[in-house]
Symmetry: C2
Subunit: 464 residues, 2 copies
């Protein structure tokens, strides 16, 4: 049966591209309320195509943009003994600015170099279309989808997924699947699909250090009272020791070590830290926590970054001021095992333990996301590896990512649900940047893989 589905998909490749182009034409920029109508239009488009897959699909209103939720679980067709798969994706996109840097307009999808250029092509509309095409093909060829599935496509991923948590709470009973599948990541190389089984978490602070009640003349007051800029840099300067390890007591306590098996997998990967990572961003010196490789630092070790500094005079020339405050944005990428609540607690304690000589902290926790590390040994992981082998003709690699996909941790915390991250973007797709693109071979590989994945899942018998 899968062979028929794949043949059908091959035959209708051009109309699949046309459908994706249709969706890409809709400027569903979620962060800008001027596009609210377009965002809703994209939700409608997704809803209609989910219905064409034979699913019961509906647009749900939220306090923000709508969420599209579709399922076959309530249908008499649904195979009762098959596993229940939750698909997640998003139909909203980043703003296209700066417009003048696009070679062709961001919402007039253009095909060249065997790729479609448009805002959202790789992140995430093109990848959502991979799932939709696979579902529609199964419906068309087999008459139904041979597993129980629920599909959640949201419209606020690019502006913080503000409505998702309460929606998940409300529809927990419908969303409590056996596994979640997400296509919003990249391939390892153009010929090698990656299954991402680990993500770092995040914790983000705004720190303000307040000193005098007003800006002061540095001649009259220099050297006789604590300058917030001096104090802030002095305190933040202590965040790292000479091995570039974070000095907050307990910071590394719960970090999960890399297993010998993982390390073997990573060693087998074709990865050159300079060529694949640092040289393209103009950096000639690998640097980080002593005793670890670049891949270990990115995937398995926590990081602490000052994302911004502000306070006092930053314009041209000189102004002899002692500012009344200074501030910094400080964030942590959390390694598997760390929890944002714990790190927030020990970081705040560490800050308050520093002597700031009379300056006072205003500490704002801007939120976090838990890190994720999924077992490599689940039946779903095995099914995914088989499906990818079938669709691409090559074994997938198992990787982690240094970045954070908050929804993955959220599904784990809210629904105790593991996610399979199988993405078809390429690292040069320029997501969030001008000239975003999605390669058409990746598109083909994407819908074929999802079709095969459904077949593999259907082979698993499962009782929830």
């Amino acid at each position: 049966m899968l062979q028929d589905v794949l043949e059908y998909l091959d035959k209708q490749h051009h109309s699949a591209v046309d459908r994706m182009v249709d969706l890409l034409k809709i400027p569903s920029v979620s962060t800008d309320s001027a596009f609210a109508k377009d965002v809703r239009q994209a939700a409608k488009w997704v809803n209609q195509h989910l219905q064409e897959s034979g699913l019961e699909s509906q647009i749900h209103e939220t306090d923000g943009h709508p969420i599209v939720l579709a399922t076959n679980c309530d249908s008499p067709d649904a195979p009762k003994d098959a596993p229940h798969i939750l698909y997640y994706g998003h139909y909203d996109v980043q703003p296209p600015d700066p417009l003048e840097k696009w070679d062709t307009p961001p919402f007039q999808p253009t095909i060249r170099n065997n790729a479609v250029y448009a805002r959202g092509s790789s992140d995430d509309k093109g990848q959502v279309c991979c799932i939709l095409e696979a579902l529609m093909a199964w419906k068309k060829v087999a008459g139904k989808i041979p597993v129980r599935i629920t599909v959640l496509i949201e419209g606020e991923e690019e502006c913080g997924s503000g409505s998702l948590h309460s929606f998940v709470e409300k529809y927990k009973h419908k969303l409590k699947a056996d596994v979640c599948v997400i296509s919003d990541t990249t391939m390892w190389k153009p010929d090698t699909v990656a299954i991402t089984y680990g993500l770092r978490g995040l914790l983000y602070f705004d720190l303000k250090l307040h000193g005098p009640s007003r800006d002061l003349h540095s001649g009259m007051y220099g050297g006789i009272l604590a300058n917030p800029c001096n104090e802030l840099t002095r305190v933040l300067g202590k965040l790292f020791d000479d091995d570039h390890r974070v000095t907050i007591p307990g910071y590394y306590d719960n970090v999960q070590p890399v297993t010998a098996e993982e390390q073997q997998q990573w060693d087998a990967l074709d990865f050159d830290e300079m060529k694949d990572c640092l040289t393209p961003v103009g950096v000639d010196t690998p640097f980080g926590e002593a005793g670890y490789t670049t891949l270990q630092r990115r995937w398995a070790r926590p990081a602490c970054d000052i994302n911004g500094l502000y306070g006092g005079y930053g314009g041209e020339g000189a102004k002899t001021v002692i500012p009344s405050f200074a501030g910094a944005k400080v964030s942590f990428r959390l390694a598997a095992g760390q929890h944002p609540d714990h790190i927030a607690e020990i970081f705040e304690k560490w800050l308050r333990d520093q002597d700031t000589h009379g300056c006072k902290w205003e500490i704002t926790n801007l939120g976090g996301a838990v890190p994720v590390a999924v077992s490599q040994n689940s039946p779903y992981m095995t099914a995914a590896a088989k499906a990818i082998g079938h669709s691409s003709g090559k074994e997938p690699v198992l990787v982690r990512e240094g970045a954070t996909i908050p929804v993955v941790g959220q599904f784990k915390e809210d629904l105790d649900l593991d996610s399979l991250l199988i993405g078809f973007g390429l690292t040069d797709d320029a997501i969030h940047s001008p000239n975003e693109k999605f390669n058409l071979d990746c598109f083909r590989l994407g819908y074929r893989t999802h079709a095969a994945l459904i077949a593999e899942f259907a082979k698993l018998e499962w009782w929830t």
Copy 2:
């Protein structure tokens, strides 16, 4: 003769106030070219009143705003055996912004609470008028000024005195006086005049630390390369040791110690570090270089201040960026004995000696000014103390200031000329701020003191 001059001054106090008010009405904001005509108008006003003192006065064009230069040295009247005094002041003012915080308009001088409220009233037009009134009274009562004097009133003090250095070079022969007198400082207390014999110098840097060639995603790159914000705070955090001493090798090498005699004078001053200094600016903790008092720190010890921090994201909320650069404004207040050229050299070396893990410095020296410490034992100092005793009925105090008046160092370097800083402002005059004022008793004390000072100078016989 002085007694006649003082009586005359007493009688015409009201018309003196009227003249000051006239000058204060002219919005001579030097930094804003929209006021260029007004600046010139103020120069004309000053020029005219210097001519009324019987001096040969002229407006000199510069690349910026005009300089008014007046003298009696070329006149047959000039007493050949008297010392030659250079008076310095400025007729330009700071911008009045924020306008909405003024109780009465900044260029509609208003008299209330025995003070005139207007931009420039204390800094420096009112104090320039003290000098002009004394000169005009001597001319009126005695027929001539009994010392050789040159008066230089510039119009660019509030925007950097850009034309002064080349003017001084050009007119060196006219400006090479025996001593310079400046009224642009404050009294010690409302009933006690201060002679300021020391000023700190200044050295100001813009520092940029460059890292990756573009802003990066902190998830993908966090922990694997040097973040310029992290590196900048780490390096600047090392500027001070635990005693809040600057760690740059050689930084304190040439700092002149406070003499036992000076320390006795300072101990005798009525000064409460909290009440007179820190509490009014909302600071409850004196802090600075260990082992020194607040007055010593302000007057005799160098300071290092970060005047601003910038780089990365400083807006609301979170942005997970590793910026391509981070920057800071860093300045030094130099103590007597230090030289900006030397400190610049050792600071730049110190910066370049720090390991920034591949990030690269862009160091911009924005200029400096030498510190000043004048001998307390010159005949001019003695003359000034006598004149102040006569005019105020109270001995003056000898003080230093923590701030910098670049022209004082410039006259010392260009003309080898020491300055007597005798000011009549009060510390609550709100210079550079809304509702600037000049107390009318201070105005009276000012012109009486300058009249008496001329008499004291005339008693000194001098051959240059």
